[in-house]
């Protein structure tokens, strides 16, 4: 039996490929709908027109649902995992009950989430990630605001802007922090992936038809009482959606002891070989957890992890993804302009000044000691939002670089998700 964790593009592709080879698959996902964060869709009770890109998703959904070899285990959270005597044990909570799933092979397809940077006002209602705005619209049919500023960096801002505008929101500003000329760094990626050129042209045309122009090289510096500050300008809006690329979700890879490494831009990923196998035998990873790369790469990796995929497609998409990192870097400028009164850790309400005094007065020498002294990153999200930022603030205050081992430590956590003692005490009743 193969256990696949995550039902986004990588997980779905892996499940379908494994089933085609005659293998039994359990596809575990925390959502109640297939598709992950990428192939979001409204429930079937909505009458809607599907976009053409959704055809590929629908085909994978249909194959997963119709295959007698695939069990889709929805609404299930894997909170802990271990490998004993060549068998993987996945501890899962579903509907408040803990269960254990055993498998000989595990494919992690746990995806990624928006990277956020702190700025004055970012904890208040109205500020959210572009992913949140997208999720509300595409999964629930809810428009998050009427007048929206979209900011940050990366190609994901474009579909978010066109989606929100098409649904009736006024996009009062679309701010891409990086300059357009940086695409010179990915000309080779574009030439290897002509579909990406078509996609880019599609969104630029769509933006123009919606009357939205992209302002390059600027971002939101604060949001207070319905006013977003953009450089010297102030703009009234009810929502500011800001995202700085993505963070791979690596909790389970870390728990199982797979080797993690740090990319040039500071992103922590799980290391895989040419077959998508991690340093732990039988543990594979596909999609964003091996490096942010988008759905084409995720699908190719998922198929290869399941034993049969196109390595050329993967290579092309990898080249494009590497190039994108150079087009859309996150500069360290956010650190130098950081106001000490800004909240850094949302969960534990730790301010930049708290971190600074942990260093100056209490002698913290790294992210870990700053965390222990201030509780930054120790709240419910377990540092998923602030972990990297805390490390970078500490390193900046000490005038040094964040060591790789600290980046890796802050991407790993002992539990993949909080669990109540009641759920834990339910006993391991049900087994697969």
């Amino acid at each position: 039996m193969i256990a696949i964790i995550g039902a986004g593009p990588a997980g779905l592709a892996a499940a379908v490929t494994a089933a085609k080879k005659g293998e039994k698959v359990i596809l575990i996902d925390s959502s109640t709908r297939l598709g992950g964060q990428y192939w979001r869709h409204l429930p079937s009770n909505w009458k809607q027109k599907r976009l053409p890109y959704f055809a590929e998703a629908q085909e994978l959904f249909d194959q997963v649902l119709s295959s007698p070899l695939i069990t889709w285990y929805s609404n299930a959270h894997v909170w802990q995992a271990e490998k004993k005597n060549e068998i993987f044990y996945l501890y899962v909570v579903k509907n408040g009950v803990e269960e254990v799933i055993t498998a000989q092979k595990v494919i992690l397809a746990t995806g990624a989430y928006d990277r956020s940077l702190p700025f004055p006002g970012w904890t208040g209602p109205g500020v959210m990630t572009p992913g949140a705005a997208q999720a509300m619209l595409k999964t629930h049919g809810v428009l998050v605001g009427k007048k929206i500023v979209i900011a940050g960096t990366g190609p994901f801002l474009l579909p978010v802007a066109t989606g929100l505008a098409s649904a009736g929101a006024e996009i009062v500003a679309l701010l891409e922090a990086n300059k357009q000329w940086r695409w010179v760094f990915n000309v080779h990626g574009l030439l290897l992936n002509p579909s990406k050129i078509r996609e880019g042209v599609y969104y630029l045309k769509k933006l123009r038809s919606l009357g939205i122009s992209i302002q390059y090289g600027s971002t939101v510096t604060s949001f207070e009482a319905g006013i977003a500050t953009i450089g010297k300008k102030e703009i009234a809006c009810d929502v500011v959606a800001v995202g700085w690329g993505f963070v791979p979700e690596l909790s389970l890879a870390g728990i199982l002891g797979a080797k993690l490494s740090v990319q040039k831009d500071g992103t922590v990923v799980v290391d895989v070989d040419r077959n998508q196998e991690t340093s732990i035998q039988g543990l594979f990873a596909a999609g964003e957890s091996t490096g942010i790369g988008g759905s084409v790469l995720a699908i190719a990796e998922g198929e290869i992890a399941a034993g049969k995929g196109n390595r050329v497609t993967r290579w092309r998409a990898q080249v494009f993804a590497k190039g994108l990192q150079r087009v859309y870097p996150v500069s360290s400028g956010w650190l130098s302009s950081l106001n000490s009164e800004v909240t850094l850790c949302r969960c534990e309400e730790v301010k930049v000044s708290d971190i600074q005094s942990a260093i100056d007065e209490l002698g913290a020498q790294d992210g870990r000691s700053a965390k222990l002294l201030t509780r930054a990153g120790m709240g419910l999200c377990q540092g998923r939002v602030c972990g990297r930022n805390v490390s970078e603030v500490v390193a900046c205050h000490l005038s040094r670089e964040v060591p790789d081992r600290e980046r890796i430590a802050s991407a790993s956590r002992p539990l993949a998700g909080p669990i109540s003692l009641g759920e834990l005490g339910d006993g391991l009743g049900k087994k697969f």
Partner: protein
């Protein structure tokens, strides 16, 4: 896009709201323009949805007496009692 009827009802801090089957608590409240989901423990600051996908835990509420539930993940069921 045609929106189905809000056939479910639930309460949030005592006030009644409607929801479309399949909608999460956060989605239904945001649709009703109820942006503050809770206030923080230490500084009493208002918070709403932030990541929208269950990562940040900013949108936590008490659902039918169980605290720290992510309103962006939990779908509304009829008669649900939600508190900040």
């Amino acid at each position: 896009m045609i929106q189905p009827n809000k056939s479910l009802t639930f309460t949030f801090n005592g006030e009644s709201f409607g929801a479309i089957p399949g909608q999460t608590i956060a989605a239904a409240l945001l649709q009703a323009e109820r942006t503050t989901l809770r206030t923080t423990r230490f500084n009493d600051e208002p918070r709403s949805i932030f990541c929208g996908i269950g990562i940040c835990w900013d949108c936590v509420v008490t659902v039918n007496g169980v605290s720290n539930q992510r309103s962006c993940l939990i779908e509304v069921s009829d008669g649900m009692v939600v508190k900040s």
